[in-house]
C-alpha cells in the first residue's frame, strides 16, 4: 500500500507533534511555576553568586551586664553608650520581677543564646534570640531567685559574640575548597593515567586493520570492541555509587569508577585513531619481513602518537568535569564537598565550590586546547 507523499508528510508531522505534546506532559513542564517561584530560587542564586572567599579572623567576645537582684545588693553597672551592648529596661530587679533586655549593634540576622552567669560561676540558660538586620534584639527576662546576688557578687546576663578582627584574608572555606579542587584534579589524573596504561594496548586489539586477519584475531577484535561499548554505556556516576559501597566513600571510589569509564572511552577513541592510519607503511614493513609487533611499533605507533596525546589530554579535561559530578555520590573531592554544603544549606560555601569548579574547568579547557594545538 502506498501513501501519497503530502499525506505521509502531514501524518509524520502530526506524529511528531503528538510526541512532543506527550513529552511536554511527561516532563511536567510548568513555566508559570518557573516565574512565580522566582522568590524561592533567587536567594539561593544570590548565595551561589556571592561565594565565601575572603573573611576576617573570628574571635569570641562575651558581652556582660550585671543585674543586681534584689536592688542594692551590689553595684549597678551603667550600660555602654555605643558598640555592641546589652541594655536592660531596669538597672536592678527584685526576685520574680520581669524585665526586658535589648541588644544593639550586634551581628545582624544572627542566632544567639542569652544566659545568666550566676555568682557561683555556673551558667543558667536564657532565651534564644535572633537579631534583626540592624543587629538589634529585645528579650524577656525574669529575675529568678537562683540569680540573686551572693556575697556581693551580682548575677550577670551574658551573650557570646563572634567578632571579626584583623585584615581580610582567604576564608577557611576557600582553603577547604582549594584542597578539594586539588584532590579532584588528582583523581582525574590518576584515573586518566591508569586508563591510558590499559586502553593503549587494548586499542590495538579493537582496531580492524590490525586484528581482522584470521578467525582468532577477528574474535578478539569483536570481544574488545564489545567490552569498550558495554563499559562506555555505564555512566561514571553509577559505577561511582557501586564503588562507594565497595571500597567506601572517598576519592578512591571515584578514581575506580572514572578509570573504567575512561578505559572504554579512550580505548574506542584510540582504536579509531589506529584504524585511521595510513596503511602504506604497514604494507612496506610487512614486505621487509618484519614481524607483527615490529610492524605495529614502527609503522603504526609513530602515526598515532599525536592523536593519542591529544585524546589523553582532552580526556583528563573531561575527567576533571566528571569527577566533580561523581564526587556528589560519594566519590570525594570538590563534588562531595559541594553536596555536603548544599545538603546543609551552607549556600555561600557551596557557591565557593561552584566557582572553583567553573574556574578549574575553564583553565583545564584552555590548557588542554593549548597543549593539543602544540602536538597536532
Amino acid at each position: 500500500m502506498s501513501v501519497p507523499r503530502p499525506l505521509r508528510t502531514t501524518l509524520t508531522a502530526l506524529a511528531v507533534l503528538a510526541l512532543i505534546a506527550f513529552a511536554w506532559n511527561g516532563s511536567q513542564v510548568d513555566f508559570a511555576r518557573l516565574v512565580n517561584s522566582l522568590s524561592k530560587g533567587w536567594p539561593l542564586l544570590q548565595d551561589f553568586l556571592t561565594p565565601d572567599v575572603l573573611g576576617r579572623e573570628i574571635q569570641p567576645v562575651t558581652l556582660q551586664l550585671a543585674v543586681p537582684v534584689p536592688c542594692g545588693s551590689a553595684a549597678e553597672a551603667p550600660p555602654a553608650a555605643s558598640g555592641p551592648r546589652l541594655v536592660p529596661s531596669v538597672p536592678c530587679a527584685a526576685p520574680r520581677d520581669k524585665f526586658t533586655v535589648e541588644g544593639f549593634d550586634l551581628a545582624p540576622n544572627t542566632e544567639l543564646q542569652l544566659r545568666w552567669r550566676l555568682p557561683s560561676g555556673q551558667y543558667f540558660p536564657g532565651p534564644f534570640i535572633t537579631t534583626d538586620a540592624d543587629g538589634y534584639f529585645k528579650a524577656e527576662f525574669e529575675a529568678r531567685p537562683i540569680v540573686a546576688t551572693k556575697d556581693g557578687v551580682p548575677g550577670q546576663i551574658e551573650v557570646e559574640l563572634q567578632v571579626e578582627v584583623g585584615n581580610l584574608r582567604p576564608s577557611p572555606t576557600l582553603h577547604i575548597v582549594l584542597d578539594n579542587v586539588v584532590v579532584t584534579i588528582f583523581m582525574a589524573l590518576m584515573a586518566t593515567v591508569a586508563a591510558v596504561v590499559v586502553a593503549a594496548p587494548l586499542s590495538f586489539l579493537a582496531a580492524q586493520n590490525v586484528m581482522k586477519r584470521g578467525p582468532v584475531g577477528t574474535a578478539i577484535y569483536y570481544l574488545t570492541r564489545t567490552f569498550f561499548n558495554v563499559f562506555r554505556s555505564y555512566e561514571a556516576i553509577v559505577l561511582a555509587t557501586v564503588f562507594a559501597f565497595w571500597v567506601g566513600f572517598g576519592p578512591f571510589a571515584g578514581v575506580l569508577a572514572l578509570t573504567i569509564v575512561t578505559i572504554a572511552s579512550l580505548g574506542k577513541l584510540y582504536s579509531e585513531a589506529v584504524e585511521g592510519i595510513d596503511p602504506g607503511p604497514v604494507e612496506a614493513l610487512t614486505a621487509t619481513g618484519a614481524n607483527r609487533l615490529q610492524v605495529v611499533l614502527f609503522a603504526i605507533v609513530p602515526q598515532i602518537v599525536p592523536n593519542f596525546l591529544s585524546f589523553t589530554i582532552y580526556h583528563w579535561d573531561i575527567n576533571v568535569r566528571i569527577s566533580t559530578i561523581i564526587g556528589y555520590v560519594g566519590g570525594g573531592g570538590i563534588g562531595y564537598y559541594l553536596a555536603q554544603m548544599i545538603n546543609t544549606s551552607q549556600n555561600s560555601k557551596a557557591g565557593t565550590a561552584i566557582w572553583a569548579i567553573v574556574i578549574v574547568v575553564w583553565v583545564m579547557d584552555f590548557l588542554s586546547a593549548e597543549v593539543r594545538k602544540r602536538y597536532t
Binding site: 602504506g280 604494507e283 610487512t286 614486505a287 621487509t288 619481513g289 618484519a290 615490529q294 614502527f298 609513530p302
Partner: protein
C-alpha cells in the same frame, strides 16, 4: 630464478584480479610489467611476496615454494625481497634514518629492535644506503619534510637495507614529476646492473619501458597478453594491450 605458475587471484568481493598468470624471471633481469590501471599489475607484484594472498597457483623462487611458506619462513623469504611503492609508504613522522633502518627489521634482534636499539653496523649500513641514493645529509630530517623524489630515494634505501636479491617496484615513479622519473629508475637500473639484483617493476610510460626494461610482460584484465622484448611492442601490440582508443604519451626527457 622466479617462476610463477597459473596464478589466480579473486578478491572476497568477487573481483577477478588475475587469471592464469604464468611467467619466468631469470636472475639479473629488469622485468617491466605494463598494463592499464586495474589490469592487475599491483596485485601481481603483491602476490609475489604474499602481501596479497593468491587464490590459486604457485610461486617458486630459487626452488622455494613461496605460496606454501607460512609464519617465520614467509618472513625469511620476504626479507630478501625489497619493495618500492608508488606512494613511497614511509612513516612520515619518523626520521629518514629510522625509516631506512626499518628495512632491516627482518634481520634485527626482535627484542632489541622493539626498544629502538640498533647495532652500530646497521646504522652505518643505513647511512651508506642513504649515501648511495645521494641524501645522506637528510638522515635526521623528518620523512615528510622531503620532496617526493627524495622520499622515493628513502624508499630505495630502505629496500637496500635488506640486501635484496629481488626488488619489486610498484609504479615507483607514478607519483613523481616526469623529470624525476629517470633519476629514480636509474638508481634501480644501477642496482640491477652492478649488484645483479633482479628487478620487477610496473610502469606506465612506454618510453620508460623502452629505456629500462630487459623484458616486458603486459597484463590486460588480469591476463598476460604479451611477453617479450620492449622493442617488440609495435602499434598493433600497443592497441592490444591498451585498447583501441589509447594514444601513447611520453614521460619525456630521455636520459
Amino acid at each position: 630464478m622466479l617462476e610463477v605458475r597459473n596464478l589466480h587471484k579473486v578478491y572476497p568481493n568477487g573481483t577477478v584480479a588475475l587469471t592464469d598468470v604464468s611467467f619466468r624471471v631469470d636472475d639479473g633481469e629488469f622485468l617491466v610489467v605494463i598494463g592499464l590501471s586495474g589490469s592487475g599489475k599491483s596485485t601481481l607484484l603483491r602476490c609475489l611476496n604474499r602481501l596479497i594472498e593468491p587464490s590459486q597457483g604457485q610461486i617458486l623462487w630459487d626452488g622455494v615454494d613461496v605460496t606454501a611458506a607460512s609464519g617465520a619462513e614467509l618472513r625469511r623469504i620476504r626479507r630478501h625481497i625489497g619493495m618500492v611503492f608508488q606512494q613511497f609508504n614511509l612513516v612520515k613522522r619518523s626520521s629518514v634514518l629510522t625509516n631506512v633502518l626499518a628495512g632491516r627489521l627482518g634481520f634485527a634482534n626482535p627484542w632489541l629492535s622493539l626498544l629502538g636499539v640498533w647495532p652500530p653496523s646497521d646504522r652505518a649500513m643505513a647511512l651508506r644506503a642513504l649515501e648511495r641514493v645521494g641524501i645522506r645529509d637528510k638522515a635526521e630530517a623528518r620523512a615528510d619534510a622531503l620532496s617526493g623524489g627524495q622520499q622515493q630515494r628513502v624508499g630505495i634505501a630502505r629496500a637496500l637495507m635488506q640486501e635484496p636479491k629481488l626488488i619489486l617496484a610498484d609504479e615507483p615513479v607514478a607519483s613523481l614529476d616526469p623529470v624525476l622519473s629517470h633519476s629514480i629508475l636509474q638508481y634501480l637500473e644501477q642496482l640491477n646492473k652492478e649488484e645483479k639484483i633482479t628487478v620487477i617493476c610496473s610502469l606506465h610510460f612506454l618510453d620508460l619501458v623502452h629505456r629500462y626494461a630487459t623484458r616486458v610482460i603486459a597484463l590486460k584484465d588480469g591476463k598476460v597478453v604479451f611477453t617479450g622484448l620492449p622493442q617488440e611492442i609495435d602499434k598493433a601490440r600497443f592497441k592490444a594491450i591498451y585498447g583501441e582508443d589509447a594514444v601513447e604519451v611520453r614521460a619525456g626527457m630521455t636520459a
